[in-house]
Symmetry: C2
Subunit: 332 residues, 2 copies
């Protein structure tokens, strides 16, 4: 019998339809793209990208030259442009504004590799520290209201480049998805006087059916109502509204658990296409009692079709309890 | 310069980023799936599907035998199941219910073809008349709150079967996407005292920049803020809240314009994968002044990646004015 479950943060219902499938081996990832003949993100090709915005690099090396470990450049084909005013206007019943924003690429390694899971934890820590730096820097610009950090891996997940990288898009409005999450967390807090995600952490830890890994300060778990098979969330177990408000030790532990969670997905599911997204608080907001940042990892193993597009319902053939158990047992 | 536009019904912002592409020929559809060796939906194979729920068939022919023109069967792998009570329950902070609903397949023709655009208008009319019949029948069941009619064509659009068909899923809650649309239309009506889509029809007709086809009672147009290149909506130009509340002449005209709009997409874009979805009012609701049903056709020519999943923003490289002009000029 299928089951309908509601995710309390996104307010989405999902259909857990385990009759429709499926052992992990039935979920076929698309082929990972081959390493390219020419890699514009590799060390030595710094002149093939726009000039760098930031980098962590060896002492004595120069911007846009080799010697970096993590490097941030503007997207060569930006979805939004950095220069100008918003020029908000009506057009009859419609609303528009100029496409102002920032679109940055975080190149995560100088090597031509497709994933950072083979790199030392200290390197993954530097990637996360760079996420923090860029979020802090971009919110100095009052035109930007939100910064979405995300990663596309594999063609079905929308990746067009092989080399391990993430992206950051700063938008001039708070995205609809975030507005729904913020409202749900606010409503929950107003009703119960507690943070929704803190309550989620408590229940997940206690039930212990959907936990993939617990690192002490962070929990990796399959959410109660996942849209996609093997969807996995990472949340701090302590309350925190802003991803970018931590000190180094926190990112060190996040690097540890993020790398191992991704490794389990890669090993257990044969390098699936996936996205991850960091849902931090909007720019220019103070620490809040009701919102709690989180990172969502969504493998792309099932198609999204008219029903999902039309309703916002998702059909997931793998119960999260099964997915979590499977991933827990993947040996690293 | 990219432009941000807001769709007033879905409340989504989209980024029209025409610098990022793109002539229609640059948008590569995936290959349409080949005709299958065995077609379970073809005439003569009626015993390869679950027993039929409804059909339009020649006088003197029998259910589950040849002689039908349009045939409805339960989905063999249903996302929701028809039998039982909802058994709504909490699970700590979470909500769940049993996966009760209906999942039907509308087989649109006895022939092994991938699209109904080659069939006579009268046949397409019967398909739409069947949509109406099934919506009216399913809402007799008080457990079901909404009926989503949709079509998946091509692999990137989630289709797994070649034979021309649509699906109808009746859900036990009103989907989130519909709730957002209903609220937006209600808010607009409360503020202005007019129907949002009626105002949209007036503005589109007057500006005449995004119209693809006007059949008199129906308008096919590129919406102001399309998520996808060549997204096209069909709406009645007169006010109507329920798709299923019309008489035959209305579906005749809808069949005329729907078939020709799809033909233009097929000819102009080299048979792209696409979905369409009908957004009618929820079940058991009386005719309303504020909601106006519509049909959305969404070709799948651009990937959906972490940014779109995370924000609900969409990046569309083709301005709707260009898309409409292109489709207007496709000769049938």
């Amino acid at each position: 019998m299928p089951e309908l479950r509601k995710d309390p943060i996104s307010q989405r219902w999902v259909i857990i339809a385990s009759e429709r499938a499926t052992r992990p081996s039935d979920l076929k990832p698309d082929d990972p793209p081959p390493a390219p003949a020419f890699d514009p993100f590799a060390e030595g090709n710094e002149d093939k990208t726009p000039p760098e915005i930031a980098s962590f690099r060896a002492a004595g090396t120069y911007a846009n030259k080799p010697g970096w470990r993590v490097r941030v450049v503007p997207n060569k084909f930006p979805a939004l442009q950095i220069e100008g005013g918003l020029d908000k206007r009506g057009d009859g019943i419609y609303d528009r504004m100029r496409g102002i924003g920032a679109h940055e690429v975080i190149i995560e390694t100088p090597k031509t590799i497709n994933t950072f899971t083979g790199l030392p934890d200290a390197h993954v820590h530097e990637i996360l520290w760079m996420y923090r730096e860029r979020l802090l820097d971009l919110q100095r610009d009052g035109r930007f209201k939100y910064g979405m950090l995300f990663k596309n891996v594999g063609r079905s997940a929308g990746a067009t480049l092989y080399h391990s990288h993430s992206q950051l898009i700063a938008t001039p409005t708070v995205p609809q998805t975030m507005q729904i999450k913020l409202q749900a967390c606010q409503d929950y807090f107003d009703f119960r006087g507690r943070c929704l995600v803190c309550d989620m952490v408590a229940q997940e830890t206690e039930q212990n059916e959907r936990v993939v890994m617990d690192s002490g300060q962070f929990l990796a778990f399959a959410p109660y109502a996942p849209r996609f098979p093997f969807e996995t969330w990472l949340v701090p177990k302590f309350h925190s509204s802003h991803f970018e408000h931590h000190d180094r030790t926190v990112y060190e532990e996040l690097a540890f658990i993020l790398k191992r969670t991704l490794l389990k997905l890669e090993k257990g599911l044969n390098t699936p296409p996936y996205n991850y997204m960091i849902f931090t608080s909007p720019f220019h907001t103070p620490p809040s009692e009701h919102y709690h940042w989180h990172l969502e990892i969504t493998p792309r193993l099932t198609p999204v079709a008219g029903f999902e597009w039309g309703t916002g319902f998702y059909i997931n053939p793998v119960p999260p309890e099964d997915a979590a158990e499977y991933l827990r047992n993947v040996k690293l």
